[in-house]
Symmetry: C2
Subunit: 346 residues, 2 copies
């Protein structure tokens, strides 16, 4: 039995989803993968960082979180007010960094990841900011430190996208990528295709928890843009700045435009794309996030609701498409879990 | 730089496809993966097994094959009439077993694989017979020998299916699988959906090389059945016998049935499926290969021509679908290449 000492920074929906899977999947991990995961530390922004060398009681942590009680009520723990200080003082084999995405400066996640990699820890993350803004820097640091930095859940949650690109199709070269990478906008566009009104559907999506109170990050395409930057770093080995991506959201799509697309046998989708281009421009990559009317023969056209999808053009495989959930507590936890298993088996 | 000594048994379309990729991708493998592959032996049924410790000249082998000349014209090689004898005498790090599929007794592939595993070699294979008829036995043997047995190309060529199931979604449990796993029948059914006649389309597919002169293995569902058996072993850890799979081919589908499905907004596809069932029957798995009329909301319904697709129901990911090429020289070679890279990086 291999023991893996895990530090979990971020204990919101995603962190709790991973914690829940570690409990539910404990027997499977031990019997099928010969792996025992010991959660040695947990942090969230409100309650700081707690550590227990013998391992924390995950069901108790989930119970405390569900009751909005401080994690520090866990008995027999050491405590640091700062996650960064706690991580530096205690370490572990793997950091799961699942604090919230920040596309301005990627903090606090990027500092957590840098510290972990620097002290020789592997990192798994669902946080889009660090990989979107500094993907190549962090991947290079991981490479120098001989550790893994894995990020399956940053794009389409646990639906295998990053691992498909880097491992499932290892040795193939990607020529272009096109994807529906944001569930909220796809939910809204699918409902609009059924004849409904943008404002009405947005309000409904907010009521159901599919859209944030401030929906800007989704409907203006910033979330899809962040995922596009991650795919540029991972798939093409190229760092793009956010302003190098053409971005147009879905807020100005009219009912008339939806009807016209339908009449032409097409569907309007918010499409994120990356294309390798000849090296005359300032970047070898063209990157765009924009609504496009897709013919029904396009595998992306019929991906509806909160499902996401991505199509890769590969030199040796023509076109490969992956369709699956793009968000969700357990779905995102699953991506972190598969990353943990990849690290444990390397 | 890591050196990997490769033995290649089978030098038809698939073996030549892998050899061609090893030449084309040589720089990529060295620079991105730090891997140098030395092809130490090659065998085909007509010309026997040749070995050269310093490595064979792959372009020369491809040239000899294209001119239908014996591989033994390669200079400075040792020769065995039997691939099995040659493999036993020489070894290597990895066997690529790509002889033709035989669903009666899986020979000669199964003997090649058993010998390689027994002498501590990893195995990558595109040969469906051994994994379909003895998947669990061979996977257990590999496990006991602490080597890998990988088979990406047995299902949907290099489109990542096996690795998606076992690695990309590691830790998730599969509940059911449904797939379009045979390109020939999908090509025929797609053309029939466009109003054409079965016999006419079959003749055209044969002329274009999509269908064999004897199309039985494809049109009667035996090829899809073999892939279903492999998915049962890999995804569910369960060995099914061919006769435990309900099988119906596409030869009796009438133009009238196609038209009726179209009128109902459906498409007829040859669907292979596996469902976990409660353990009252004689098998915990229900396995079927049969033509089904699928509604257009089904992600499999619009997969046309020689493209293949597979949908997994997973406990933590709801539904994940992968669409991609299901055959082809380089596409199949790509699956073997990604398997080789997985072994080299473990």
């Amino acid at each position: 039995m291999k023991d893996l000492r895990l530090s979990l920074i971020g204990f919101g929906v995603v962190g709790q989803g991973l914690a829940e899977l570690l409990v539910k999947k404990r027997t499977l991990l031990e019997e099928r993968f010969g792996l025992h995961v010991t959660l040695v530390s947990v942090a969230n922004a409100r309650h700081g960082f707690i550590y227990r060398a013998e391992g924390l009681d995950i069901p108790l942590l989930l119970e405390l979180a569900s009751q909005q009680q401080p994690l520090t009520r866990h008995p027999n723990v050491q405590y640091w007010a700062s996650a960064l200080d706690g991580l530096r003082a205690t370490g572990g084999d793997v950091l799961a960094e699942v604090t919230g995405t920040n596309l301005r400066d990627a903090e606090p996640g990027i500092s957590h990841i840098r510290v972990a990699l620097t002290q020789g820890m592997h990192v798994v993350t669902a946080n889009k900011g660090p990989l979107a803004l500094a993907g190549q820097e962090l991947l290079t640091l991981a490479h120098q430190q001989h550790v893994q930095l894995r990020m399956e859940s940053t794009v389409m949650a646990g639906t295998p996208v990053i691992s498909t690109l880097t491992e499932g199709m290892a040795g193939a070269r990607v020529r272009s990528v096109r994807g529906i990478l944001n569930g909220t906008t796809n939910y809204i566009l699918s409902a609009m295709a059924a004849g409904r009104d943008y404002a009405e559907v947005l309000a409904e999506a907010q009521a159901q928890g599919y859209a944030e109170a401030d929906p800007t990050a989704d409907v203006e395409g910033f979330d899809a843009l962040a995922k596009t930057l991650i795919l540029a770093a991972v798939g093409f080995g190229h760092t793009l700045k956010p302003e190098q991506v053409y971005r147009k959201g879905i807020t100005t799509i009219s009912g008339e435009q939806m009807r016209q697309a339908m009449n032409e046998g097409k569907r309007i989708k918010l499409v994120a794309s990356l294309h390798a281009v000849s090296a005359f421009g300032e970047s070898p990559l063209e990157a765009r996030v924009e609504p496009l009317a897709l013919p029904l023969s396009d595998p992306l056209a019929r991906v509806d609701g909160v499902m996401n999808a991505i199509t890769f053009q590969m030199d040796t495989l023509s076109e490969v498409t992956v369709i699956g959930p793009g968000a969700g507590r357990l779905q995102t936890g699953q991506g972190l879990l598969s990353d943990l298993l990849a690290i444990a088996q390397a």
